[in-house]
Symmetry: D2
Subunit: 304 residues, 4 copies
């Protein structure tokens, strides 16, 4: 498979695409990102890198961070986690409260906000410095210690985060949050504010293409069963209320964030990240969705 | 109408009723109220008092306070209030969040918790000392300055109030709360902790039987239109998800609280309060509901 | 109370009101009713009649018929009825199916479509000729044998009634419909197609102002307890998702239909009917709602 | 991969599993199937067959038929289909009506009942003999003309199918059903009553492992893009409200039916069918789910 050629073709095909969608604006820091940023980075399982555009520029990974926190929580408490969060697609928007009401405070999956907050609560319970532990984990799997939170974004999230504050308190009323709401939210707002580039993301997610082992050293970070489950969750729940559409069109496990990043992976083949800030009405990068659909068309391969 | 005879009959009929229902237990202070407390006080529009049992003992009025805060908010901002809270029955439990989700943060009515929190927010915006203002209003309409908050109950409410904290933050995410969540909740938890007896409640609610005027001085506290509307709201929304049942069986406007109090009124005839702590599954005093149904049977009168 | 003067004033005040709202158009027969039809008829408990405009012209009473079928079902099976239909406001649109799903096929109240279909099923089970029995009941309480179904309207309803067909089948899946769907729907589509004038409606509903007795002969048709309950249900559930608003503004029990009719009553005072076909967004006569609010302002009286 | 050994191991491991779950009983024909029936058949992409137990006995395929009708509708009208049915997981039970209410009669996906009824409507519009067309399609892909409907099961389905009748009428009220309800239901009740064995199902579904081509002749029945999409839909929506769980544990696209059959496939590797009638609370074969999880453990392979 000549990924070099394929990425070149994608770059040229999408070069003049008029911008559709709107950059996230619920916090000022995201609103000021230029809408024409566009980058892509693919890392294959043989360690070869392919990229174009703004692939080395770091941006706010937002909900993509939920995959890292989930992996860390699975390492910390294993299958106990599934007593507190389910693994089903939600069928409702990512920040919905109503499903919690019918289901006694158990979030539908770890990638809707409610679920990610339960995962954050697990990390707060299991690490003395949960923010540090999460960064350390990301440093370990990317091999890059310079990845960090953007404190301004984290502070902005905290200032506007009424709905997440509502979610935490609501689940606490059901007994499904162990720690103080403020501590859980502090971790959550920080994890959303982690900054990574397309390259960083591809380097992190190759772990999930490589059955949980680091590519260079083959050291096992996650078991193959854990990786299978995380990939399955990305497949069914990684794109909010558009998970079915992404599976239908792209056919790869992946995860998006409102910063405009999308990361996807083909097990035993590659991990790929795209960045384009304008979002479609479902909150996923509009151009990113199209690019990844084109990628699976050009490679002729998906997991299906 | 010989109310004296009617109350005597009710007292004897219900004297040996076995206790059904369970005393509210979400905070320890409510859980320890003896379940066999039972009192009733009726005040007619000619100023005559009828009572029996524990009618002079004060208890936590809880949601009955929502009528007082509503009246005070209507005096403060008039019809503007209806831009922020609707007047329709909810059809869902009193502390539900899901309806807010479909209706952009506008609570269904001022007597579900979400609506009462918006009303509290209005009071925080319009009074420098909102807790004091609410007590002053109650002192004025009852003529009794000794009515006060129970600080222990208020503190307990605050400690357990995750769902109300969720509601305030959730509405704040829709822009329907102006003040800090903590300030709104502080008022709300205190108003629920006001202590009044059946006699106090009958004295307060006779205002709504008397077209808004104090019984003794005929001084107008609320306009007759305001009173009509408050009574209408009590009729359609005063009993959580059992408002229809109460209207159907009793046929009077009224309001209940999880402290076991129920107050009801027949316009231009009387106001009546009953207290019995054990609650039915809908959160209303089980015995209180039966007593008031019996009262309208014995008087042969309801508003219908 | 000079109702003559009050109706004259209402007639003149509303004479030049520009038409707002839209005439119901889901069946052609309703769509072709002239939007400027406007009539009002008030009958007081002393038997005096007051009216203006098109008050003698018959129109399709639609959902107002649900009050007649409810009364007949209560006479037929008494309190058993409440095992099959609840008495709570619904908080959702009149033709909603979703609430049934959560509540095991028990409709919220007899005035939403689902509830009226259960009531129709009761009539089919209890009368060999249920359509005839319903007409006979209306003839008896109005003293007018010329009231009849419009067969063209009934046929049109049947042709378009997919949602009602869905409701019946859905409740049948829960075991809450005893008869064949076709038989229940045949009665239901016919009852909606009954034609009555404002005068006819006032004559029928004076029964509910007069504690269940015919005005002229004082013969008891319904017990006073049955009347109290029917009035209570009209109060809390008579106006679809606008019942609270009507109670709040008008403060009388009443019932509306998409033919543009509204009937309301003040117990022991009067029954009143208004007709103006254009509907507000909630499906109630826009002008009718305003006229009745004005009526209670001018009389200075409501049940509250 | 020695599938022979793996199936032997599964057979012996599960030989003495006590029966959990309950055989579907909503129609008498399903209720009388012996609960201890158990068979498995795997067909790999090289055309080799592996099986044990009751793998040659035919049973009612029920919802598995939805995959065949979907494939046929995609062949008939292509992407137009997606204007009438969505591709998202539903998050609610398979026979729910409430989601339709919020989404204007557009079913969430083709595998919930509402979606399958829309697909049936498409077939009724596009084939003069839709039942025959569906059988012909199944004969073509299995090479076995003896596969047929069980007329007794179809008649039983029709007799009890109130909820499906409700769904069709409800969607018709939104304009999303073109044909008569009776015609759509006739096809639907028949397709659910198709009888196939594990072997038949494996032979049919190998098409979806083989990029849409028949295994022996390599004739293209579906395009590779169509197959990718059908597989993606099975992955996200194939197991009612347990699709996430199946993806999480098994990690293969698949489809279950209340007759106790489950079919799954690993693209370019194999198709596999299991049959065991007792169902778990989500309506999927309890033993079948466990067997397929064990299969992916023993092969060490899933699509993730």
């Amino acid at each position: 498979m000549d990924y070099n050629l394929i990425l070149k073709q994608i770059q040229s095909e999408f070069a003049d695409t008029p911008i559709s969608g709107r950059v996230a604006s619920y916090i000022p820091e995201l609103a000021k990102v230029p809408p024409d940023k566009f980058g892509m980075h693919l890392l294959d399982c043989k360690g070869r890198h392919y990229c174009f555009g703004d692939s080395n520029e770091r941006f706010s990974i937002q909900s993509i961070s939920k995959v890292f926190s989930l992996a860390l929580a699975m390492k910390a408490i294993g299958d106990e986690l599934w007593n507190r969060v389910d693994v089903e697609p939600s069928g409702v928007p990512f920040n919905s409260l109503s499903q919690l009401e019918n289901e006694a405070g158990i979030p539908r999956n770890p990638f809707i906000n409610a679920g990610a907050l339960v995962v954050a609560d697990v990390l707060v319970s299991n690490f003395s410095n949960p923010k540090g532990a999460l960064l350390t984990f990301i440093h370990e799997i990317t091999g890059d210690d310079s990845i960090d939170f953007d404190p301004v974004v984290a502070a902005s999230e905290a200032q506007e985060g009424y709905r997440n504050r509502a979610l935490v308190n609501y689940m606490k009323s059901f007994g499904n949050i162990e720690n103080k709401a403020a501590d859980v939210l502090d971790l959550y707002f920080h994890q959303c504010a982690i900054e990574m580039s397309c390259k960083d993301l591809a380097q992190a997610f190759i772990l999930f293409s490589n059955q949980g082992k680091l590519l260079e050293t083959e050291r096992e970070i996650l078991t193959s069963v854990q990786v299978k489950r995380i990939n399955a969750l990305m497949q069914t729940c990684g794109f909010y209320d558009e998970a079915g559409e992404f599976t239908f069109k792209v056919g790869l496990p992946g995860k998006s964030g409102v910063g405009g990043g999308i990361v996807a992976l083909h097990p035993q083949h590659y991990a790929v990240a795209v960045w384009s800030p304008p979002l479609n009405p479902n909150g996923n990068s509009a151009l990113g969705m199209d690019v990844l659909e084109r990628l699976t068309q050009l490679t002729g391969l998906s997991i299906f």
